[in-house]
Symmetry: C2
Subunit: 260 residues, 2 copies
């Protein structure tokens, strides 16, 4: 099974090494967000995710596009992922109705400042299709995602989520779940390994919370192409500081490589 890295404009993140490290940006105001972006970019993650559901002026499309352009400059060449995490899947409450969110993804596509966008595969199928069309038209990669903050469903259910993302024409399939027992970590890794073998697109997975940190560090060995780590502030439970993530990954990569 050759590793399948995430591509941005045809170029693999992290030079094709698994996993790429993504740091979230969760500032609520434009100034906070730009300061956060500069500080986090200095830590050299492979990808920056703008969690726009934290942004207080989300309903002002002009403001969102303006900030997107400034994030591009602040990122200093690090690719950008645009994510409105829905409240149903762990995001912040926002003032927009879903059709307006789809319009925002269309505007962000046309704006040209974001390289990838993330949208939940559980949204209205017409909205998923609209976001897919807009992102494709503007050369953006699409992450279709599934989140469960309450529990970890079974292996087959998770394998189906990865498959569903591919069926919906995603460029990347992402699954994030909450473990209730150590066994759930094995469920996530097993589903990831199966999906990485069966799917043509890169897959991304993680278990959240304390035990889940082990999957954030080891998921790459089972085919997960991306892991999230904290540059400034966490966007989900269990994320490690980016410095610890880099140190842990270096140690694990070396340990695996040494004896092979």
């Amino acid at each position: 099974m050759p590793p399948k890295p995430i591509l941005v404009n045809g170029k693999p993140l992290a030079e094709g090494r698994l996993p790429a490290v993504c740091a979230p940006l969760v500032g609520r105001t434009r100034d906070a967000l730009l300061a956060e972006a500069r500080a986090v970019a200095a830590k050299q993650p492979d990808l920056l995710e703008w969690r726009v559901d934290f942004f207080q002026d989300l309903a002002d499309t002009g403001a969102v596009l303006d900030v997107a352009g400034q994030l591009r400059r602040a990122a200093g060449g690090i690719p950008l992922l645009f994510t409105r995490r829905s409240q149903r899947e762990g995001g912040e409450p926002i003032a927009l109705a879903e059709p307006q969110v789809v319009d925002l993804y269309r505007a962000i596509g046309a704006g040209g400042h974001m390289d990838l966008v993330d949208f939940e595969m559980g949204n209205d199928p017409e909205h998923v299709q609209a976001v897919r069309e807009a992102s494709r038209r503007h050369g953006q990669g699409l992450v279709l995602s599934y989140h469960n903050f309450g529990e970890t469903p079974g292996v087959d259910f998770l394998v189906q989520r990865f498959a569903q993302a591919e069926q919906l024409a995603a460029d990347v399939a992402k699954v994030a779940v909450m473990p209730r027992h150590q066994r759930d970590l094995l469920v996530v890794l097993d589903a990831t390994l199966r999906a990485s073998e069966e799917r043509a697109i890169p897959v991304v997975s993680m278990a959240m919370g304390g035990w889940g940190a082990l999957t954030r560090l080891c998921g790459w060995a089972f085919g997960s192409a991306l892991t999230f780590a904290v540059g400034g502030a966490a966007s989900a439970p269990g994320q490690l500081p980016i410095e610890d993530m880099r140190a842990g990954l270096a140690l694990l990569h070396q340990a695996v490589a040494r004896a092979r």
Copy 2:
């Protein structure tokens, strides 16, 4: 599931923290072995394992007992595990027939310098019983072990090995296997988790080789009470240097604890 640490004279290794770290000693001569023991003890593993199948004077019981006493002094208070790994399960070729090996275990029990002994559960049942009786009579803990350097059997088979060790009155059950695919890592961790829930005695497991290094670092989260790391020289493929093991465990423990 409360963690079940390995006990030595009623006291838990590593103050009850999982995993304890064991460093092997593989010197072939008395001088090499004692120099190795002093150097490795300085790195403060929680347990030192004398792999006596590497020792060239193994057939001289007096020499073995003499070295055991000197290892006790060189260990500076670190508990000692005495292991003749059979050639069938990955050990060195030795000059003794099996009944003589059992006699050696009896002598080592009477000598009183070793805290734990390891014997393969796949040995002649009468020999296993004799080693159990000798170790019990002299207050030594008994590790009954299963090794497979060729492959990783299925989860049920491994779960049965842990159960068999308990049925044979072991104080610790140990399983070490060779993964051929990343999925085998999940097999080992799953079997370990099940056994740690079902068995009354501490369990120890590892996958060997490159990918197996991940189980050496993460197995504690699934109930494995002991991991092997290199102080001087490795005794099996995939063992990390003890410094890397300590750093990796510290990082993993902190990552899991932070978000719980």
